[in-house]
Subunit: 155 residues, 2 copies
Amino acid sequence: MADDIIYFEDLTVGDSFDFGPITVTREEAVAFAAEFDPQPFHLSDEAAASTHFGTISVSGWHTTALFMKMFVRAMQKEPGRQAASLGAMGVDELRWLRPVRPGDTLRGRNEVIDKKASKSRPEMGIVRNKVTLFNQQDEPVLTMIPIAMWRTRPA
Amino acid sequence: MADDIIYFEDLTVGDSFDFGPITVTREEAVAFAAEFDPQPFHLSDEAAASTHFGTISVSGWHTTALFMKMFVRAMQKEPGRQAASLGAMGVDELRWLRPVRPGDTLRGRNEVIDKKASKSRPEMGIVRNKVTLFNQQDEPVLTMIPIAMWRTRPA
């Protein structure tokens, strides 16, 4: 079934799939933070010691980028899903629930929580997904609701 | 006044400040996408030509990382603001309104839209901000509502 395209009409509320894992190294965490989020508590344990983080933590925007990396990998293993994705228009209710630390191994789950046809664009539907990322202790570190555009079955 | 800390009590709904600009190059856009979001329409114009993007576009997660880069730079110019920031717990209503293209120059505005004391943690308050990013044509490309934790004035 790998070549069969999963159209909007084929998605069911409650559908879920898992993705990952991926491990984030200290070198990667510091390099990302130095480029995009150079707050001291993302750059050194010494600076983090005086904050509520305690030790160095991964930038929250690095965590969302790692979500995308895992998600795209999973999509590329399912060409029928990738073929029908039209990207995301946005994200609701993004929450960083606890710090991600260098050395942590993340994995995630995506669940379809709502779908509706587009009134203005019949070639696509709108799908709301609940994403949860977990660390290696199975603790949730991030939740969010990406709003995806999904191709409808050609008439 | 640069050394004066801007505590939670000093913030007023309607306060705003501008940040940026920053220009994203094609090399940076492709490098970020190759690492974190290797969907074909982020990697080459040829692949983007068959999608609604038309030409290569910047990953939405690269755009949020560029927001953070501009925002941290602006905070570092205002030590009193930086000293009181305790990071963000999340983001509501993130919307990628139109594609960001390699070569685009982005800037942004942050406006305080709501604030409330924390019942469980008297040392901090919760501040909701409306962020808008614009391109060089002054078109909005992204809006979102970061939810920040902010230090309260010591008793």
